[in-house]
Symmetry: C2
Subunit: 212 residues, 2 copies
């Protein structure tokens, strides 16, 4: 008997959030309760970070003009990506890859500047700042699912072009455009599977013992 184990319902909640979380691109316009938004940001901020560096920053986009500029950046990158995808270009262009204009809340998550001061756990793996920030976003993603809200992580943008729009300092870096909102449904499978873009492989192919 493990006294630290959660109750059955709590444990179910954790596994349910993990299995039913989806990367959402289809939103309803209904607003988000500000208290829930704050709970989600708190959830993100409770993530661990390498050497306790807390390398993240959350920028809430409330100006429509700014949201439109961000949408345009994503659209430019969508076109650029399509070109590089060559023979899958047409197929890619049919996918809905973002919900920037549709979602109730738009957030930019960024790495802070002056991260080079933090060496603990990063001397050989400097990308641990990205990893810590991704952990924070995953917290938010799971909490949003539990609250019944959809979240989509859009990485189709040029960080160098987004930085001046938000007056970001040199050395910082935007890592995510997050679309948050109510949804009609959570996709039963990852949307890219439903759209036959890719098929998720089962776990057996990803586990080994002692050797690659």
């Amino acid at each position: 008997m493990n006294k630290h184990r959660f109750s059955s319902a709590e444990l179910d909640g954790v596994y349910k959030a993990i299995s039913q979380r989806r990367d959402i691109r289809h939103f309803l316009p209904d607003p988000i309760d500000p208290e829930i938004l704050m709970r989600l940001l708190q959830a993100a901020h409770q993530a661990g970070s390498v050497g306790l560096m807390q390398p993240w920053r959350f920028i809430r986009i409330t100006k429509l003009e700014l949201r439109t500029k961000i949408y345009n950046l994503v659209e430019i990158e969508r076109q650029e990506t399509a070109i590089v995808l060559n023979e899958r270009k047409d197929e890619f262009m049919k996918l809905k890859v973002e919900g920037v204009l549709d979602c109730a809340e738009l957030l930019v998550v960024a790495l802070t500047d002056k991260r080079e001061q933090h060496i603990f756990g990063r001397r050989t793996l400097p990308e641990m700042d990205v990893a810590s920030t991704a952990c924070a976003i995953q917290n938010m993603w799971l909490a949003a699912r539990a609250e019944g809200l959809g979240l989509g992580w859009v990485s189709l943008f040029d960080p160098d072009k987004l930085m001046p729009l938000l007056n970001m300092p040199i050395g910082s870096k935007p890592l995510a455009i997050l679309c948050l909102g109510h949804v009609t449904e959570f996709y039963p499978k990852p949307m890219l599977e439903l759209e036959k873009w890719a098929i998720a492989k089962p776990i057996g192919e990803f586990i080994s013992e002692n050797i690659w």
Copy 2:
């Protein structure tokens, strides 16, 4: 009323896992139920990944000789880090920064090779592979907390030295040494706060609106 919202107990479970998850370095030797280990790996594998690339791989370390070699690598990096930390060297050397020899299960999580084939969502942000893998680890971390198990992410190692120990192919990259096991207690605060290495800053400093 949001029909997608979890029950109160399930929602509590998610927030409890998020707030009580800790980066653990102190373990009890008791073994992990293989079914629970599999559930945790499944939880990791259920993470979203950019363009559905599933860039992760999990290597379970069961050979004591290999575990000892991994411990030695971490110890070398601990010394190297201490040197770079200069005036905080002695303070750093007093911290317990890993539980590699003490934990019940040792896992290495790595990025797969041939990731350059995946351009979707990564043309301008190639580090999204690291981000996706960190999301997978965060899933595992939260599920472990809910199961009453401690998990520690050790990034104090040289990836180039770990790769040959596990016969990892060129182009792959180890990102985490994960220590998993039963614990006497979950730290009430991050261990680095308890040890007065750093103080976590409150969320107010990390949020802004429309501008940095």
